[in-house]
């Protein structure tokens, strides 16, 4: 099993003395989807699993199909078809918060230390291919590069046009949901309904939830009189059958918009350009 233990805490503070170059936003590689070749020997499709045990966090590379931990360094197939080897490093304490989600995986505040000299050249090449960074800052992008290389965590989540329109009219954004996974979940739920009354009801539910949550969390600096009140939305959607709940009339112009044509709008993946701004 690959169990990478964290290193001893450093004695010096982890804040750089000179400002680092701002990382470029992660950009989707056109061919980054992993090919479906499970069981095929050679380069493995892997994914990272994290586990916290006995006050230590370990990072484990597992075969994507079998779940079997892989030897390290692992031979990998990169999304662009190249193959390479990667090696995992321990992380500083601040990286090891219990919260487990895409975001901290990709924007860990403490990057691994500089690449040791024995990192194979092909691994550096893979890193540069994915992250687009070279030179001394490559180490700082090592961790995101590993993850984006091995696990398709960061596929952009696009908001369907009808949902985006309804959110905009209500004066709220889907980023009110703190976690990318929550945004993806909401979008997937809306997207799985065909255009029509049911879809409108789901759109209205997401808008209502965003307003209600943002209001309860104190995220809004002022109230918006034109936005539908969360309370009636909640009552309607929580207690009435779906086919009679149409509180989202403001989004009625979305009726009939297909997902494909609606996939124009906003990337809410949390690691894409939107978050990098």
């Amino acid at each position: 099993m690959i169990a990478i233990s964290r290193p001893e805490p450093r004695h010096e503070p982890n804040t750089p003395t000179t400002p680092r170059a701002r990382p470029e936003p992660f950009r989707r590689h056109p061919s980054r989807r992993l090919p479906a070749v499970p069981g095929v020997p050679g380069p493995h499709q892997v994914w990272m699993r994290t586990r916290r045990q006995h006050s230590r966090t370990v990072f484990i590379l597992r075969d994507r199909l079998t779940g079997v931990p892989m030897r390290c360094p692992a031979q990998l197939l990169y999304p662009d078809g190249r193959s390479g080897r990667i090696r995992l490093f321990g992380f500083h304490d601040t990286t090891l918060a219990v919260p487990l989600d895409n975001r901290w995986r990709t924007s860990a505040p403490t990057a691994p230390p500089d690449l040791p000299p024995d990192v194979p050249p092909e691994a550096r090449t893979g890193n540069e291919q994915i992250g687009g960074h070279v030179g001394r800052h490559a180490a700082g992008h090592w961790w995101p590069a590993i993850i984006t290389t091995t696990v398709p965590l960061h596929q952009a989540t696009r908001i369907p046009m009808d949902l985006a329109t309804a959110l905009e009219q209500a004066g709220v954004g889907l980023e009110v949901f703190a976690m990318p996974a929550q945004r993806r979940h909401a979008v997937a739920w809306v997207r799985s309904a065909e255009p029509g009354d049911l879809r409108q009801a789901r759109v209205a539910a997401v808008v209502g939830a965003a307003l209600r949550y943002g209001d309860a969390a104190g995220l809004f600096t002022r109230s918006v009189s034109t936005a539908p009140s969360p309370a009636p939305l909640h009552r309607a959607l929580a207690l009435e059958p779906a086919d009679t709940a149409e509180p989202g009339d403001e989004s009625s112009d979305s009726d009939g918009i297909a997902d494909e044509s609606a996939d124009e709008s906003v990337d809410v993946s949390g690691s894409g350009p939107e978050e990098a701004r």
Partner: protein, 378 residues
């Protein structure tokens, strides 16, 4: 409208009120503190700045045998916190200890039902159809997970998956020790596709001389012909009908599930049982009014041969919060449901007991109908 920044809900006062009320509700319902606490943990989740869902090996109270619990994380309004060294606390008061925390990623398979006496696993759950890509049912957390588990659709891939499970067994363990292989996966879409997949799985198991019962969690296998075919060609076989809820089904669930009416479900299970299959169902407590729950349980419980997976609704996102039944904000709602099931089941000719390892978010953890609950916890 501007957003002031990251979520900064000050939930202290709310959570303290919730804590007091749930302890009082537990006393009023004669439920142990451990059971009430675990229901509350499932209901409220963990208060962490980020996170979707975590799987814990949790001891409650500290020092008790560890159990598997999968709960929502990133719930800033929850009174439950988990420290870096694994201490579970409610409003700062330690109540348990997590000896291990995993990201609850969708994986292709995992082992369950740890047999302490024999020192081995007795069941496995596999997700051969890329479970995390399933979307459409609001209460299900899998859509929050990174879609990285592959679609397994050949015998060779199933063998590879089982080989992976084999390597996770303790030394000397065998897959032939498994009594059950559960298939919990993305909806197969059609009855034929599901039956074909089960037939292929049985062929693979036979090739490995495994006679484990196959349990399919599904709502697309519905016909008597399919039940007979499964009994004759795939058995031993059981159906966990994914009922999930009674009301607002079209709004909350994907269409391949929502188009099965709750009224048709008791007869469906009766047909499956008549064909010789084991039967049970899944139900999420937190979406329906108590009256809907009651008629549904009265109709369904007489048709099961395995205790149903009756789960606490875990709210993973504000949208889930928004669509939960209003009464489900209080623990008493869940304790009432628990008592209701115990009462109905107790009146049946062959009452069943929950098997704690089957459900990581059950209404029952340590006790059932006032009695200690036997069986594996993970």
């Amino acid at each position: 409208m501007a957003i002031t920044g990251e979520t900064t809900v000050n939930a202290n006062s709310r959570s303290e009120i919730a804590t007091r009320s749930w302890k009082q509700a537990a006393r009023e319902h004669g439920v142990t503190d451990v059971d009430a606490l675990l229901i509350a943990l499932n209901l409220y989740g963990l208060s962490t700045p980020l996170g979707a869902r975590v799987r814990l090996q949790l001891s409650v109270p500290v020092g008790a045998a560890a159990r598997t619990v999968s709960v929502a994380a990133g719930r800033v309004t929850s009174p439950f916190t988990l420290s870096d060294d694994g201490v579970l606390a409610v409003n700062g008061e330690p109540v348990g200890c997590a000896v291990r925390t995993d990201v609850d990623d969708a994986v292709s398979g995992y082992l369950r039902n740890w047999d302490n006496q024999r020192g081995g696993w007795r069941a496995a759950t596999i997700n051969p159809a890329s479970r995390s890509r399933c979307t459409g049912c609001l209460p299900c957390p899998t859509a929050l997970e990174p879609p990285a588990d592959p679609y397994v659709n050949t015998q060779e891939q199933l063998h590879a998956l089982l080989d992976g499970l084999l390597r996770q067994l303790p030394y000397g363990g065998s897959l032939r020790d498994l009594d059950e292989v559960a298939v919990s996966t993305r909806c197969y879409g059609t009855e034929d596709a599901a039956v074909d997949a089960m037939l292929m799985l049985r062929k693979v198991l036979r090739a490995r001389r495994m006679n484990a019962r196959i349990m399919l969690l599904s709502s697309v296998v519905r016909s008597r012909e399919a039940f007979r075919y499964l009994a004759e060609n795939v058995g031993p076989f059981g159906l966990f009908l994914t009922a999930d809820c009674v009301s607002r089904r079209s709004l909350l669930l994907k269409d391949t599930k929502a188009d099965l009416s709750p009224e048709a479900m008791p007869d469906l299970l009766a047909d499956a049982r008549a064909a010789g299959l084991d039967t049970s169902f899944t139900y999420i407590v937190g979406l329906d009014a108590p009256a809907d729950m009651e008629w549904f349980f009265r109709a369904m419980l007489p048709q099961v041969t395995l205790f149903p997976s009756i789960q606490v609704m875990q709210s993973h996102s504000p949208v889930n919060d928004h669509l939960a039944h209003p009464d489900a904000a209080e623990l008493a709602y869940f304790l009432d449901a628990r008592r209701l099931v115990e009462d109905i089941m107790g009146g049946l000719a062959s009452p069943l007991l929950p098997e704690p390892w089957r459900c990581y978010r059950s209404l029952w953890s340590e006790t059932y109908a006032g009695q200690p609950l036997p069986g594996a916890r993970r």
